[in-house]
């Protein structure tokens, strides 16, 4: 009984180390693939459209509601201390440094990350990736690198859009609905947001984009090797859920780490 538990623990440990090693090599191959010739520009543009343009609506509504809630909550808290004039500062700093990058990344992971994982998972179980290998076509260059490059460009742009829409939402809630002075909202924002804050808010989306593409495409690519995932369509479904959960958790953990290191 005890031996069985130890064997099982050892097996889980070995499987986790193997998985990590495999994913580490996968990350390197994915980055190398970006520098291999010929570059698939049309696929890159398709992915830009899918990740970027396709996420515009969801990012717009998430940002608007987040900004408006921040405006209302901020007003409610600051009003207690008679500091409503700080509302612009509070909303903009929260959005630029934390909520903008994190919520954008979570939305992209849920919308585009899951699709990337499912696409590669289905290609793997239907031997389409093996077929590429057999034709001596590098699957990293052909399939994965366009996704990585598109995400690295799209996610920061979507984050910028999130920040702008969120700040506007805060303005609507704070100034138009709660009656905060518009001048103090804008002025507070201008005075409190420094270049360093913007830099911090700009670094995060690049890291999050890399994390999302790495984890989501990696889970799909290795769907046939993941222990306990099962087989066929069910394995793709299970691994897609895992990919979104893992990438979302990684985004939250890395958000803390990046903030702790860079602030």
């Amino acid at each position: 009984m005890q031996q069985n538990s130890i064997t099982r623990l050892g097996s889980i440990g070995l499987s986790a180390v193997t998985d990590l090693g495999r994913m580490g090599i996968y990350l390197l191959q994915m980055i190398q693939g970006c520098f291999r010739y010929p570059f698939r520009f049309s696929e890159f543009m398709r992915q830009m459209h899918f990740i970027g343009v396709g996420s515009l609506v969801v990012i717009f509504f998430t940002a608007a509601s987040t900004g408006m809630v921040l405006g209302l909550q901020g007003y409610y808290s600051l009003h207690k201390f008679g500091a409503e004039g700080m509302l612009g500062s509070a909303v903009s700093l929260t959005l630029i440094m934390e909520l903008g990058p994190v919520l954008t990344a979570l939305m992209v992971a849920g919308r585009a990350g899951s699709a990337m994982c499912a696409e590669l998972g289905i290609m793997r179980i239907s031997e389409q990736i093996d077929a590429l290998d057999c034709m001596a076509v590098d699957p990293f260059r052909y399939l994965i690198s366009p996704k990585l490059l598109a995400a690295i460009i799209s996610v920061p742009l979507l984050t910028a859009l999130f920040d702008v829409v969120g700040i506007a939402g805060g303005y609507v809630a704070g100034v138009c609905l709660m009656g905060v002075n518009p001048g103090s909202y804008i002025d507070g924002m201008q005075k409190s947001v420094t270049n360093h804050d913007i830099w911090l808010g700009s670094v995060k989306p690049f890291v999050f984009a890399l994390l999302i593409v790495w984890i989501c495409t990696g889970r799909g690519y290795f769907v046939h090797m993941i222990k306990g995932a099962g087989f066929g369509a069910r394995s793709v479904a299970k691994v897609t859920t895992q990919a979104v959960v893992f990438s979302s958790i990684s985004v939250l953990i890395f958000d803390y780490l990046l903030t702790a290191i860079l602030i």
Binding site: E127, D133, C134, A136
Partner: protein
């Protein structure tokens, strides 16, 4: 050995199941696949026939031993060397493995677009000519989901033949096809092999029909590979498991006829 012959030397391959038990697929197996001929690999389900193909292609690694393609050890091939090795192969997968988001034309054109410097016009001419040979004209703009099983196999074969492979691997090419379509596919194999002259390795359950194409037959069972220089030889084998296989797949009458 000729350039396109394949040799297995003491090749070992095993898998570990989730419960920790070991399944031996190949146990120090030795055999040679002659160049320019057709070799059929037969055996029960789950014995590792498709794994043998994947080992040849370098999609899986051997646990021990050597695989030589044209006299060159490919077991340690990595990166560019592995890529060069794979350019010599064409593969028709069990499920055709067509890219489901691309049309038939795009599927067949993919190896030419990715692996050659041909112009788009040259690619178009070559692809349309291949589709004509394989009776797929008029279907070039369809997606794989819109094709029948036989058409998918033909499209997969057209794609595999684009780079004029020296060695063709067929993984259960007639699974799920009706007898008429199966016959057509076999005729197609014979015709294309005559035209291109490739070494052909076919994994199949379609016994004895597939023997009509075979020059050599191999039988994989419990990690060992029995090699027979002709389809007739397998029917004369005295090994109990081979006799059982022949009896099951060809029937008593066929076997007794051969004995007579």
């Amino acid at each position: 050995m000729n350039d396109t012959g394949i040799e297995f030397r003491d090749v070992e391959k095993a898998f570990f199941r989730d419960d920790g038990t070991k399944q031996v697929i190949l146990d120090k197996v030795n055999f040679t696949i002659p160049a320019g001929k057709t070799t059929v690999i037969a055996g029960g389900s789950g014995q590792g026939k498709s794994v043998t193909l994947k080992l040849i292609l370098g999609l899986m690694r051997v646990d021990g031993g050597q695989i030589l393609v044209g006299g060159e050890d490919t077991t340690m091939a990595r990166g560019r060397k592995l890529k060069e090795l794979r350019t010599r192969f064409g593969v028709l997968f069990q499920g055709s493995a067509l890219f489901d988001s691309m049309t038939v034309f795009e599927n067949v054109a993919l190896p030419l677009r990715e692996r050659t410097k041909k112009t788009e016009n040259e690619i178009k001419d070559q692809v349309l000519s291949s589709l004509e040979q394989l009776e797929l004209v008029g279907h070039e703009n369809k997606f794989p989901a819109q094709l029948s099983g036989g058409m998918k196999k033909r499209a997969g074969l057209a794609r595999a033949l684009q780079l004029k492979p020296e060695i063709m691997l067929f993984d259960e090419p007639t699974t799920g096809l009706d007898p008429v379509m199966t016959r057509e596919i076999y005729q197609l194999f014979a015709r294309t092999q005559e035209q291109v002259g490739y070494t052909s390795i076919i994994v199949s359950h379609d016994i004895p029909k597939i023997f009509n194409l075979a020059d050599q037959v191999m039988y994989l069972n419990n990690g060992s590979m029995d090699v027979f220089p002709s389809p007739d030889a397998i029917q004369w084998s005295q090994k109990p498991h081979i006799r059982e296989f022949v009896k099951t797949t060809m029937g008593e009458i066929y076997q007794s006829h051969m004995v007579e």
